[in-house]
């Protein structure tokens, strides 16, 4: 495949044609904040945390779904980007009920970690305090809609790594939510294989192993990487 030359934060870089700006940056050791991206599953550009500036393009572009192009000049940090990233995060916090002090993911949450890294010490928008349920009908796992950020990582692993197609998105706007099968309790799903991949993929406290209490829900993404590597490269190597 043809190589493209571009620059990221002033650093000259070559990347394979078809690679995303995020992949090119990762390879060059440049860190771009992400939330809906998960190594091994395809990208959808849902969260907008990875927005970057591209010279000559007035709007900001998501690094995870923008392909590299010849001569592209990308900027991954600026006051403008910081402002928008923090705003996006604050809106995510305001939209559902994030009570960190009583959350299974407290201390191991990607949403929290990103908030800290952007200096988010409070949320400027009024909280919506919506009413959402917790589904604990599954034998092994639970789903707390109060903590969901609609990144759809769970949906993508369920369809494209497990191949079960249990998880889906239903509704629009603030009413959007994750459903199982035909919007029925998870425990009554016929298609769920109980593999737990969605739980491993979730960045927040929305999906958890039953029985986890505050701060106990830690993920092992290595399990997902193992399966993806096995499938793509026919190599059965455990992640370290």
């Amino acid at each position: 495949m043809a190589a493209k030359t571009l620059s990221i934060d002033g650093k000259p870089i070559t990347a394979e044609e078809g690679a995303t700006v995020l992949q090119a940056a990762q390879e060059a050791g440049i860190k771009i904040p992400t939330l809906c991206h998960l190594d091994g599953i395809y990208d959808v550009g849902a969260c907008r945390l990875c927005l970057v500036e591209v010279a000559g393009v007035p709007k900001l572009l998501p690094a995870c779904t923008t392909k590299v192009a010849e001569g592209m000049e990308v900027k991954t940090t600026s006051e403008r980007l910081r402002k928008y990233r923090r705003m996006t995060l604050e809106l995510l916090f305001a939209e559902r009920n994030h009570v960190c002090s009583s959350c299974v993911a407290n201390g191991h949450c990607e949403l929290q970690t990103l908030g800290y890294s952007l200096g988010m010490d409070h949320v400027r928008y009024d909280y919506l305090f919506p009413k959402w349920a917790v589904d604990t009908t599954h034998r092994l796992f639970g789903m707390d809609h109060n903590r969901c950020i609609l990144c759809t990582r769970c949906v993508r692993v369920c369809w494209h790594i497990e191949g079960a197609g249990t998880k889906n998105v239903s509704g629009r706007g603030t009413k959007s939510h994750i459903i199982t099968d035909l919007n029925q309790p998870w425990g009554e799903s016929d298609s769920c294989t109980q593999c737990g991949k969605c739980v491993q993929a979730c960045p927040t406290g929305a999906l958890f192993h039953k029985g986890s209490t505050v701060g106990e829900m830690e993920r092992d993404r290595g399990k997902l990487e193992f399966i993806v590597t096995a499938r793509e490269k026919q190599q059965w190597i455990a992640a370290d």
Binding site: N97, S102, Y116, H122, K131
Partner: protein, 181 residues
């Protein structure tokens, strides 16, 4: 002249004040630098005038909280939202999810449905303040200068912020000094 420091306890569990007491020997340094003019730990009935800094624990839950908060804002130079209940409204605001009738339903649940003996609602005009329809973080009501999240904020973070303020630098918590939950 010593800085005039106040601390106040709204809708919170007192955990943030406990964390303040965890400052241990730094409290001894602190008494040389500040005068504590109002706090749950000192005997002062009314919030005084000309306060330099007030640490505010807790969410704004009832009419009394609201009234005192406005008075504090008028009489204080710098307000610090102290702990998650003040910063995000945290656990006290979980009743907001129950919608417009939440004040009645939580009182019913706590004092009637779950009461073992003598079920009745606490009522004493002028003594028991009515609950607000919506529990709010402090900055939703008045302007707040600084935010110190954490449930509770660790003593080290309190020390960092207070030290910055007393030495006259613009306080700013960064990286690991920010923590929710």
């Amino acid at each position: 002249m010593k800085a005039r420091l106040a601390t106040v306890w709204f809708g919170g569990c007192s955990g943030c004040h406990m964390s303040f007491l965890d400052l241990d020997e730094f409290l001894l340094d602190l008494v040389d630098l500040v005068e504590i003019v109002y706090s749950p730990v000192v005997d002062m009935k009314d919030y005084p005038e000309n306060v330099d800094v007030c640490l505010i624990e807790g969410a704004i839950c009832n009419e009394d909280n609201l009234e005192l908060l406005h008075k504090i804002r008028q009489r204080t130079k710098v307000l610090v939202a102290f702990g998650d209940c003040a910063v995000t409204a945290n656990v006290p605001a979980m009743r907001n999810q129950l919608g417009p009738g939440n004040t009645e339903s939580v009182l019913q649940r706590a004092y009637i449905a779950n009461a073992q003996d003598n079920p009745c609602l606490p009522q004493a005009d002028g003594i028991v303040p009515p609950l607000l329809k919506r529990v709010m973080p402090v900055h939703e009501v008045v302007y707040v200068e600084h935010f110190l999240p954490g449930c509770p904020p660790p003593a080290a973070h309190i020390k960092a912020l207070v030290t910055q303020m007393l030495s006259g630098v613009e306080p700013k918590l960064e990286g690991k000094q920010i923590k929710f939950g």
